[in-house]
């Protein structure tokens, strides 16, 4: 496959310490004063022109947050975060309502261009060969919502989506334009009281994406959001809400990058998915926040709450994640299998190198009858990193016929890193069948030498072997993302051997 070759080329072009997305965009921004208070919450709500119910919702979350403490159970270590030393709102200046791409600050457009994200309404061209029987990717369209620091700067293909009845817009707009939908579903999967970071997010989230797919509609294109943190000392707290109404289908992609900075930056997002009867949501993430430098300085703290609710019968939610960035990742995309015959999937590739710490996994909560879930996790630890899979599979008393299959494989590169597997399994009824498999292996010197004897360099060999290791998960990604992810995997493992 030419992608491997391409990966290798790219790896060669960059230095070990060079994070490809580490540049900063110099634009005027408007910020709220540093720190957090009721005033700041009101400021954010006001900036967004929110109705009063939204402000009250935020304030309630804020007051609750004040009573909460940070979770400490994850296998991650970091100095205490000073929540008063963060900007909770930053927006690119001239802040007027943008109606077309031409009105967006050209510097921002350039940023997204540099990141390889097509904001111009063009089809995505990645030079990918289409699989037999699949559409030519050059003609495939992807609608993009771009979030820059705290605000959404552009959403593409709006008109075409509207024709299909699909609502895809910044959540700040949805709060104003579709309050009935937002009020009904916001916080219905991740309640404002859920956990420290989710509660903080509920109080201060500034933007994110909103998707509603009406009954029986198959969303005509992939939807995607790119998150970019640009400002210094700024936290990013985006909020995503996706509702797939009865019998609908949507595939959603999320990508993230940030500039290279010495200080740590906080990213605490909340994603809520709701699938009604017979609906399906496929949610894919390629997370590539700045991981910090080779000494472990800087990088993003990625403390994210993602949860899907299979609310209707026969509904399905599938999470696929490729996690390569961030100094610390704390993230457990989960499924509540409420509807009878509903199913949840979690496919994960989590790569840690340097001093990165990953504590990630999933929860599959079986509540309905004959629900099924599947977990495939591939953890790769290199350098001095720590990589933990943490999973919970439970079957409620009434969840007769619940089935789960879990396979967790860890691959170690070098001997200064660690991989850990922490699975919890709880079946409250005897008809549940839960299967769990786990392996941990070291990348074998003999395998590497075999590849090298056939002409590959050490780095090429590692890239090839790792891409083979994660193949089952890569196949779950939409094609454009799979190619991108494959490159990213090799790049993140640079300098991990020899």
């Amino acid at each position: 496959m030419p992608a491997v070759q391409e990966t290798v080329e790219r790896v060669k072009r960059i230095d070990v310490d060079q994070y490809r997305y580490g540049f900063e965009t110099l634009i005027d921004t408007e910020k709220a004063p540093k720190g957090l208070s009721e005033e700041i919450v009101k400021f954010i709500s006001q900036k967004k022109n929110e109705p009063d119910w939204m402000l009250q919702w935020r304030l309630e979350a804020y007051r609750r947050w004040l009573t909460m403490t940070e979770p400490t159970w994850a296998r991650v270590e970091y100095p205490k975060i000073d929540f008063q030393d963060i900007y909770y709102y930053a927006a690119p200046k001239p802040k007027k309502t943008v109606t077309s791409l031409d009105e967006i600050d050209p510097e921002i457009l350039k940023t997204y261009e540099k990141l390889g994200i097509p904001l111009r309404e063009v089809a995505m061209l990645e030079g990918v060969e289409p699989k037999p029987g699949e559409e030519d990717p050059a003609r495939r369209k992807i609608a993009v919502d771009a979030v820059f620091d705290s605000v959404s700067v552009a959403t593409t293909f709006k008109a075409e989506l509207k024709k299909a009845g699909v609502i895809f817009m910044p959540i700040s707009e949805a709060i104003r334009e579709h309050p009935e939908l937002v009020q009904k579903y916001l916080g219905s999967v991740v309640p404002t009281s859920d956990n420290f970071y989710a509660t903080l997010n509920s109080a201060v989230f500034s933007d994110g994406s909103f998707v509603y797919v009406p009954p029986g509609v198959r969303c005509p294109m992939e939807l995607s959001t790119y998150f970019r943190i640009n400002e210094r000392n700024t936290g990013q707290f985006e909020r995503t809400l996706i509702i797939a109404d009865k019998g609908s289908y949507v595939s959603y992609l999320e990508g993230c990058t940030a500039p290279q900075r010495d200080e740590n930056q906080l990213h605490a997002a909340v994603v809520e998915l709701v699938a009604l009867d017979d609906a399906e949501i496929k949610y894919s993430t390629v997370q590539n926040w700045y991981p910090g430098n080779s000494e472990g300085k800087g990088g993003i703290y990625n403390f994210v709450t993602k949860r899907g609710d299979c609310r209707g019968a026969n509904s399905k939610i599938s999470w696929t994640q490729v996690e390569t960035g961030s100094a610390i990742t704390w993230k457990y995309p989960s499924c509540i299998l409420r509807g009878d015959n509903s199913s949840g999937e979690f496919y994960s590739i989590a790569i840690s190198n340097g001093f990165q710490q990953v504590d990630s996994g999933t929860k599959m909560i079986h509540l309905g009858k004959n629900t099924s879930s599947r977990i495939i996790s591939k953890g790769i630890a290199a350098g001095k990193s720590q990589n933990t899979y943490r999973g919970l599979v439970t079957a409620h008393r009434k969840a007769t016929g619940a089935r789960n299959f879990t396979a967790c494989d860890s691959l170690l590169i070098g001997d200064k890193c660690g991989a850990h597997t922490v699975p919890y399994i709880e079946a409250k009824n005897s008809s549940a069948t839960f299967e769990h498999e786990a392996t941990t292996s070291k990348i074998s010197e003999d395998v590497l030498f075999y590849c090298i004897q056939r002409g590959l360099s050490q780095e090429e060999a590692v890239g090839l072997v790792v891409n083979g290791f994660v193949k089952d998960v890569l196949q779950q990604l939409p094609m454009e993302f799979a190619v991108e992810a494959q490159k990213l995997i090799s790049i993140s493992l640079e300098g991990s051997v020899g």
């Binding site: 491997v4 003999d446 030498f449 075999y450 090298i452 056939r454 002409g455 090429e460 083979g468 290791f469």
Partner: protein, 250 residues
Amino acid sequence: MALLEVKDLKVRVEEREILHGLTLTVNEGEVHAIMGPNGSGKSTLSHVIAGKPGYEVTDGQILFKGEDLLEMAPEERAAKGVFLAFQYPVEIPGVATMNFLRTALNAQRKARGESEYSTPDFLKKVREVSKSLNIPQDMLKRGVNVGFSGGEKKRNEVLQMALFEPSLCILDEMDSGLDIDALRIAADGVNALRSPKRAMVVITHYQRLLNYIVPDFVHVMSKGRVVKSGGKELALELEESGYTQFEDAA
């Protein structure tokens, strides 16, 4: 100029000397067989030539086409035409054989400053070679050597050899684990690659393989040295009387 010149080579593994001054000269177009008891250092020699890490060369030198081979990175040696068919080929799960072949071939071509193969040219070439080796196309879709039988793994080595067109082929016990038919197919594949520009070093324990791949020279290795060299009749002699007669010489 010889294709390969190993001169007075001394090699240590983990503080223990395994090769104690080994000398071997291979010219273009020649086929050399190396025989010798278990543990005499045959695989060690092949690994050192290919550049496997973990071996310390304490004395002597290896010249390949007149250049100092020990100065080259192992992937550079591969690109320059050194090919080792492994005694124990490894499995690489999730990496389709076809993908592996193409990635490796293009890496070598690139290192030599040659253009990459186009997809149709590449596929055509693989199809030709795999057909002659009786390798079904389905096998090429599977992970490298994953679930291959012993015979299939060895045939996959010969397939790569045919594809990469190296100038020096080292075959480490390619006959082990092969049934008679598989042996014939693999040996035919190797024979098809014999050419005046290419040399082969065939490591084996059994005269039988040499009935198929007839060598120009036979060397007997014992305790880290070549203790006797001769023509193909030396292999027959060994088959009759075993290695004990050479133990003293070492």
